[in-house]
Symmetry: C2
Subunit: 505 residues, 2 copies
């Protein structure tokens, strides 16, 4: 027996990544594990990329459709993108090579609410899933799978795929065993039942993934770390955004709208999210909870110091230091973290019930509160919507945060008209930049516009926005959401032409 594979039926299927990759055929729809750089297969995609490249060199065609939980890493999206091996990719990505191919128009990409993916697969909207390639941390003596550092859509992929390739990664912490909560109570309508989860710490499922061993065509042993999220020190802009948020939360507590335990936090990934987490610790909060997608280093720190009492997510996303800390102090974390399938971590039913505080980044917002999370200048996709819509629509509070400018001031984060809309005016409550915070709750479009201009816009753009809004208020076709159609997208157009949203003076 192998160290991590304690069941003969699986050891019998052990083979190399190259042998396993040979099960992938052109045109297949292949579902893989992986969520924000964690728990993705490390070896088979690379071997597959070589097979694809060889076939292309020989003048053949070899492309597949790739479904995952969310973003993966260069060892998956990077190698397959560079090999030109994908027709269609969904539902989220962050790899630079893959992004380039998508934005060059060389392949198709579908950007999907993360809570929708599993159910749409079950509904048959993505067709048949030929093969699943899933990383696990081990296989028990009973032939069950110990999930890895992310759960994502793995339950769905393992159940739906005709065949399965498992990667057993012995570098993943053995302590992961028991930290997952795999809900098997989903069903297709009209057979669905309430999901009986009422706090982030509730266990409603099982610790291991089921697998029909007859579908397993290959087992590959690996020994490689997840892609390491580099630890970005918190910059001043992010800190100011975090400060505005924390002042706002304090105000809501004083108004009696929030308790000192707040409500379960959902927090995106990145510099601003890190600053917010650091701010919560500074702010003296204790005993908070998180119902979110990803456990970052910052979250571990908060659990360690008692700021956060419990965190539910679907994935880890730790740096090397984070992994070390996790392994060193595992006893602190074991009973305070659960990883769930993303259809549960992002489920509208649960997010609305828990009343999550949804904290997400954005590319831009317009003065009326329409938020663009995905497409730069309306056309060039950055990553995708991810779970931001699941949380923003259903949470108690929907907060969107961004620096007020990008590219050294050449791009404004606040624009007259969003060049792409991922979160509508009906779904955004709070906008924050380092300049300030606009509380849009209970306000009409025109009231919102003035708040956004006054509180969030950068000084380089404030007068320009006010001028647009004032003229729109007097000249617009309708005056409910005043716009000047000939100028609405002119800032984006100017950036495309001159590299700067600011007019030449």
């Amino acid at each position: 027996m192998s160290e991590r594979i304690n069941h003969r039926a699986f050891t019998e299927r052990l083979m190399s990544a190259e042998q396993a990759a040979a099960f992938v055929k052109p045109g297949m729809t292949v579902a893989m594990s992986g969520f924000t750089g964690a728990g993705y297969p490390k070896a088979v995609p690379g071997a597959l990329a070589k097979l694809i490249a060889a076939e292309h060199d020989a003048g053949g065609e070899f492309k597949i459709n790739v479904l995952t939980g969310a973003s993966t890493a260069p060892e998956l999206d990077g190698v397959l993108a560079r090999a030109e091996g994908m027709n269609l990719r969904l539902p989220y990505m962050s790899d630079p090579d893959l992004r380039r191919r998508i934005n060059d128009g060389d392949m198709e990409y579908m950007d999907i609410h993360l809570s929708h993916v599993a159910q749409h697969a079950w509904f048959g909207f993505y067709g048949k899933i030929d093969l699943a390639i899933v990383e696990v941390a081990g296989i028990t003596a009973d032939g069950e799978l110990i999930p890895s550092t992310s759960v994502g859509n793995n339950k769905t992929w393992l159940e739906m795929a005709d065949h399965v390739i498992l990667e057993v990664n012995k570098q993943q912490s053995a302590a992961l065993e028991g930290m997952h909560d795999l809900y098997y109570g989903t069903a297709l309508p009209p057979h669905r039942k309430p999901i009986e989860l009422t706090t982030p710490r509730d266990r409603i499922g099982q610790k291991y993934l089921d697998i029909d061993v007859r579908k397993v065509v290959a087992v590959v042993e690996t020994d490689a770390p997840d892609r390491l999220s580099p630890f970005a020190p918190v910059d001043e802009t992010s800190e100011r955004i975090a400060d505005h948020l924390l002042s706002f939360l304090d105000y809501e507590i004083r108004q009696g709208r929030l308790s000192e335990k707040l409500l379960p936090l959902q927090s995106g990934v990145g510099n601003i999210a890190n600053a917010v987490l650091a701010g919560l610790a500074r702010g003296g909060y204790k005993g908070l909870t998180a119902y979110t997608e990803v456990i970052q280093d910052g979250m571990l720190e908060l659990i360690k110091d008692g700021t956060i009492d419990f965190a539910s997510a679907t994935s880890f996303s730790l740096s090397t230091e984070g992994v070390e800390e996790f392994n060193k102090n595992i006893d602190r974390y074991r009973d305070r973290i659960l990883l769930r399938p993303q259809e549960i971590s992002n489920h509208p039913e649960i997010i609305r019930r828990l009343g999550c505080i949804a904290l997400n980044g954005m590319i831009e917002a317009d003065i009326y509160g329409n938020v663009n999370s995905t497409n730069v200048l309306g056309s060039k996709v950055m990553n995708g919507i991810g779970g931001s819509g699941d949380f923003a629509r259903n949470g108690y509070l929907s907060v969107f945060m961004s620096p007020s400018t990008a590219k050294g001031g050449k791009i404004s984060g606040i624009v007259p008209f969003a060049s792409h809309v991922d979160h509508t005016e009906h779904d955004t409550m709070i906008l924050i930049t380092e300049q300030g915070l606009a509380d849009l709750r209970g306000h009409s479009p025109k009231q919102r516009a003035q708040l956004v201009i006054d509180n969030c816009a950068h000084s380089d753009y404030k007068a320009l926005l006010q001028d647009y809004f004032d003229r729109a208020c007097s000249q617009s076709y309708g005056k409910h959401t005043p716009h000047l159609l000939g100028e609405a997208l002119s800032w984006h157009q100017r950036f495309e032409q001159t590299g700067d949203m600011r007019p030449a003076s």
Copy 2:
């Protein structure tokens, strides 16, 4: 005792509409009953409008904020709009006078997902509610309220308001008693529990509305019908749209993705919705269910002939003939219809659990599937988003329907770039015009665009859309969602300038 008021504490508070209206003071936030022209107060708003007009004539200021379930009727929104009596109106409207005032920029309007209204009120986002004015069908001997033809947010308004005025309308059918299901299990986070409703016919609440009689400052008797929705005969365009939908549903059944009982239907109001309902009867469907907002005449017919076995909604919206039919054959309908609070009829948790088929109209869609439901030319609000987002985001299928052109061909329902986005590309699955149906499921933006152009666009606009898309595919900044920023809104701009989206030839 009055015929409909069987409790002394309420008869003691009987007074005229004029006397009751005097409880309304300038600056108050007044929450009223009413949903799609049903169950709104008939007398007090008119008396209030006269008080407001008198105050304005005397040189004073008298404006209030008005919250309802959804749209009401001329006797509420019309009179108050003409009296210039509103500062802010939410969450939905359809009155022409009110619409004009909003689009003239004379007052504020907030357009809100109908499932959000009650909880945002409870969260305190709309401030204190000073007064509720609610129509009921009667008051029981135990001092409970028999709801009227709509439930809407009445439970919330009665609980939250400092004071209450009741209108007891004896023209509402006495048979309404017992046809409501009023859920009192809601709570604020973190105290929320699963809502244990798993089929449209489940009863989870009580038949009557609770009321704290000490808050009741006035009871007014009325004897007036709901605004009558005129019965519009189905036109050819609507019939063709319905036929495309029905062919699609048949195809889904043949593919095994839907059963012959389909899934609970949500259907908007209007001509196309009527045509769809009529088509379902023609199509030989039996034993269907509806989990929707409104019971129209067409729905009664389907219940009568067995096409629909059970319908859950929050409101009736019947014509004079519909009311007659309902009263005449009440035994057919009593056990087949339930009216619920709109936070339940539109609840994401339940819509996703039931897997509703969401059928909604739209103003326009762009080639990528972004849908504008609310703002003509991006600025002039038509009615509002209503419940379309609740159902489209959470349903099993999200279908949006519109004629391919409006204003005699001068407006295209399919445009390069939506001038306002209420439903994003992430939320739309099926687009239908009388030209055809585009099934966007499982497709990337560019694939969707070609389907929409080929299947949905009118011949007057098809070549123009194809030309835009082709040039965007080669010239766009990014080629994930190709756009030409300088032309994206040019069709809307041309309509604004020339009255026709088509270029002069």
